[in-house]
Point group: C2
Chain length 475, copies 2
């Protein structure tokens, strides 16, 4: 009898792999070691839990540990921290409060995920400084918000002043970082009545999106009374035992709490100690099947790098779908059906109050040139539904293509929430993945009816305009 398929880490990649392996081969023994108590949780939902739109952390869990154990017959061991991988002996060593376990493996998946980046500045250890990566982070933040609101319901926040119940409350709160987490948490806090100061080191929020999308979102954040501090590198979080202010080169803003939304880094220490190679991005390197440099040892999810579908180069974009997809592919591979699970396009979506935005592929011209392309972009603003239809708004799309080949490289879109910027991006993702040209996209026979779009959907309008620009440049 072979040794089991062992998985280190019980979140998206790990549990997808374990579940798929069991479905493909019910006789295969599958052991999962998870350091914490929570598995398979939707960390992406945490901002909405903190905001008060989701009432329990349990709601974020798609499958409980008991269900994994009983319904899926997975030997899931929570509270087990894997401290060593011996790739020669083909074992992992895990520590548990009751002792140490040495577990042999036949195939191993490292799915150790990512950790929030703590910027190297003074004061991040003061009370009242939070990150948002884990369920316990979410719990602490929600408790903080609830205290600040003095037990008022969070479910239907009224935007009244928050923080009025805390002793010595200084009112405002600081969010460091203008990425997804920063923006989603700015919304969660502002909707609970906090005065929110958002600090962004660069000159715009959502730097992976187009400048037009960044501006669109920034304008809306300001409309919602979020105070934006752009080009503001935070130098320290000052205060006493508790945080008192955020200090930048030019300002000192008094705050009652600070949320650090400054990105994540892959958890690679365990893999590195076992002699597993990291890639140029700093995450674990794998081949197209997620196998590392050590045979039968795989890595997937937030700890591993992927290949970018447009550039063909390694990329580190730790997001939930990739973790699910690659974990699932590993589960197939180790049970006898080699599966790649696909490349990534760096696709992402975010809701910011009443605005939605999405991006995919390569939008930044420097990044495109570095990948060997000659990028051309056009930005169009078009109605989201037929002009005469009583409802609707506008969508702004930046579409980027390679001048010579006409190949679509990426897109960035923004609209009012509900007007479809995010779901419009799906067509562009498909085009990217299929290496379509702008003139291919221009001729896509997309669905049309007045309650949904104009005859030429905004995606087609963007393709028409960009196609015209490409033609002019070759005429």
């Amino acid at each position: 009898m072979t040794d089991p398929f062992v998985v280190v880490g019980g979140d998206a990649a790990g549990m997808s792999a374990a579940s798929k392996a069991k479905r493909e081969d019910p006789d295969r023994e599958v052991v999962v070691f998870e350091m914490g108590e929570w598995v398979s949780y939707g960390a992406c939902g945490l901002p909405y839990y903190v905001k008060g739109e989701i009432q329990s952390l349990e709601a974020l869990v798609s499958v409980t540990p008991e269900e994994f154990r009983e319904d899926r017959d997975i030997d899931l061991r929570t509270g087990h921290e894997v401290v060593q991988i011996d790739t020669d002996a083909r074992t992992v060593t895990a520590e548990h409060e009751s002792g140490t376990v040495v577990q042999p493996y036949d195939h191993l998946l490292i799915a150790t995920g990512s950790a929030a980046v703590i910027p190297p500045i003074d004061g991040t250890d003061r009370d009242g400084v939070f990150t948002l990566g884990s369920m316990s982070d979410g719990k602490e933040l929600r408790e903080y918000v609830a205290r600040a609101r003095g037990g008022e319901s969070l479910q239907q926040p009224d935007r009244g002043p928050a923080c009025r119940y805390l002793e010595n409350c200084t009112g405002p709160v600081g969010v460091v970082g203008g990425g997804y987490i920063g923006i989603e948490m700015a919304e969660a806090l502002a909707e609970n009545g906090f005065e929110v100061h958002l600090f962004q080191r660069g000159d715009r929020v959502l730097k992976g999106f187009s400048e037009e999308t960044s501006e669109h979102v920034a304008d809306h954040l300001e409309e919602q009374d979020v105070v934006l501090h752009l080009g503001a590198e935070v130098q320290a979080v000052s205060g006493g035992k508790r945080v008192g202010a955020v200090v930048t080169a030019s300002e000192r803003i008094d705050v009652e709490m600070v949320l650090l939304g400054t990105g994540v880094r892959p958890r690679t220490a365990l893999a590195e100690r076992a002699g597993i190679d990291l890639g140029e991005t700093g995450a674990i390197a794998t081949d197209a099947y997620r196998e590392t440099n050590v045979p039968d040892v795989y890595a997937a999810g937030d700890c591993a790098e992927s290949t970018h579908v447009v550039t063909g180069e390694p990329a580190y974009v730790p997001l939930a779908l990739t973790a699910n997809r690659h974990g699932r592919a590993v589960g197939e591979t180790v049970t006898g059906r080699p599966s790649k699970g696909g490349d990534i396009a760096g696709t992402a979506a975010v809701k910011a109050f009443d605005v939605e935005a999405a991006r995919t592929g390569i939008v930044d011209h420097d990044a495109a040139r570095e990948a060997g392309f000659d990028p051309v972009s056009e930005t169009v603003t078009a109605k989201s539904r037929a002009g005469y239809y009583p409802e609707g708004g506008t969508i702004t799309i930046t579409l980027t293509a390679d001048r010579d080949s006409g190949r679509v490289l990426g897109a960035s879109l923004a609209s009012e929430y509900g007007e479809g910027a995010v779901h419009r991006s799906h067509a562009v993702v498909a085009a990217l993945e299929e290496r379509a040209t702008v003139s291919d996209v221009e001729n896509y026979d997309l669905a049309y009816a007045p309650p949904f779009n104009s005859t030429w959907d905004p995606v087609l309008v963007a393709a028409k305009v960009l196609s015209g620009t490409l033609q002019e440049s070759t005429d």
Copy 2:
């Protein structure tokens, strides 16, 4: 100096061609003959005008005749009916109230559109029997609805009983045909307080969609108190001078008015008289550049057939985007940049009260087999947003692929209105057009965030399930 580019018909295809030709070559003389007074109007908006959500017919016009003449320098002659094309002399003959014009052409575009089909039954000439194809149809229907409501505002219909102000009003109204027009008009009439009876010859509405989509929409129509008569071929519209009842083989339903939504047929008489070939669909046959069998004579829009992107065969799917796209391509071709304008996928979208639905490609298994495929379909129902997110509904997707190649052939989707069935279809259209396989689609890196979808968007869930079925059938 060359003779002008002459266009017959001033709606989507004709005005797109004329406008594009002028943009490409401002010196080119462009003459458009339009039989009526309206040009470039959004007929797709007529149901919403009748419903009362759009306040004027003018709102449906994207560019006015004056703007075409003055801003775009197009010689637009409304009220001119072209009665003859002489392809040897390269002239068209048009009649106008002031006389007859013989106009030479260098290139000619036939864009004569379509006409509502009047089923060959007794009584369709009675008063109170309407079709909905032209602006004047829309005007008459709106006047009828307004009279029935006795001058009450149509803008915010309250679903109170309509038809209470008309003399001898029998109350109910009949809609014949369960396609887009039939369903949109059922909504328009029901929302104005009419008791609506919808008669469908076949056993389900929206026959081009999947059975699951048809059922989804039918159930919702019934929830909205539309009385569905399925498998009910209408044999006569009985009554006196005015319509009094719809008669089927098994029933006689008293009605006050009847709307015929029984499809359209291409207007081809003028072309046929000029010796221009029709295709197997009964519409004008063209090559990939929309050129007919007669050199320099093009046909585009609702009078012409297209090539289906999945089957590669001629297809007649008269819809607005195709007319725009093909008209525009002809405008480019006749000014020196040969353009195909792309194939069609038979993509369509419809709103039915609080439900939205879309379809694309080949969904019907008989049609797929006829085109040489071995079709396999799966239908999944998935949440439209993250399961824990406070808003959201469900999307039901039927995805169809070819067993051997795995190629995606088509899809049919339905959801609550606003939950994204229609915009989800865009990714499938792109996949079809790029000849992607189901396992390609399964690995698309689609945008994800909890306010928009689950980690695996419903499109990906459908692809995963169908991919599994295809694998089983080859294992």
